[in-house]
Symmetry: C5
Subunit: 95 residues, 5 copies
């Protein structure tokens, strides 16, 4: 999964029926050190996260598992809210 | 999912039977701030979107869910038309 | 899907049985404006396209759908031959 | 699969039920020569690897196979711990 | 699929049971013109290829098809050995 922050929302009336009732969040991808990490994406939301919250999201076929048994036409989903990240900030040791 | 704009169409006579009857749209990927975001792609269309319309599309196996129970040989599909995008334009807060 | 042009072929005797009988094409990825767009790839062919032909290909799990009910070990397949591409060449409008 | 090193951990209370009981590791992707290779990612852990350990991880739908028969909403999983890597360090021969 | 050359091997005792008995090869991705093409990866081997051999590999869910009916936790697999590559070396024609 990937870290990100909720930075917005997409509104859409015409959409695939499987997406009805799912909030579409604009998510800024982040590194574990919380620096921006590329193009903002649109995730279906499982978590109930609000604007500004630190979340993690899942990509691809697996993201739609969050909504099983419904087959949702999404390739990105927020699957959890982050309490804290504990990470070594330096480069990795060579062994 | 990813934001994009419909900028063209591909015409094809010889194609996999599962693609019969599906419009093939050329889509320009966009950031949520509506700047171009990389290589234009070809999406099977579920939405009925016309030229110039702002849409969002889905990649990978999930994109073909839009056409279930038909198994369509596509890895990109337009799954909705955007009404509006509400997004913080600055960089993310550090927390 | 992605546009490309057939630029070669791979010959292989030792291969996974599911690939037997499928032509392996070297494909040059193209933008819709027909400029080269990155690393050349090897696609299983569904279309019968010959050298120099403009085609579109599919990536990932979906590409193997073209060969159903056979489960082919491929992640790239040519699924159609292009008649013409109709695309706006400028950058997208901002709306 | 890809080589990586465990460099941290993510703590999360609100998460998809399928992720309950799975440790979330922050992994630094490495080349086979053990140089950093891009954005750190969050993997569900199958291996029991601890901080600093050299592991390999799997991406996409396949990563969730590690947890079958449970359908886990993850697209990245640590599937093994590395004993040693034996690799030619030069560039490949041309043939 | 993608061309590559076998440049090493990974040894691992602690690993997902589905990977038992499968050789893990370090593969250097190559262009069809046999130039290096990015980060070396770790593939489960179906082909029996030895060090230095030119192979092609498959990514994603499809790579695990090579091992069916076994569900192997891999996202990369060597699926064939290359006899020869016949490719136009220039840039593509514009049509």
């Amino acid at each position: 999964m990937y870290l990100g922050r909720v930075v917005g929302r997409v509104w859409s009336t015409v959409k695939h029926p499987s997406l009805e009732g799912h909030k579409l969040l604009v998510v800024e991808p982040l590194t574990p050190e919380l620096s921006p990490a590329g193009r903002r994406v649109i995730c279906a939301d499982w978590s109930g996260a609000g604007p500004g919250e630190l979340i993690y999201y899942c990509r691809g076929r697996e993201s739609s598992f969050s909504f099983l048994p419904q087959e949702v036409s999404t390739d990105l989903a927020v699957v959890g809210i982050v309490d804290s990240v504990d990470v070594r900030r330096g480069r990795s040791d060579r062994s």
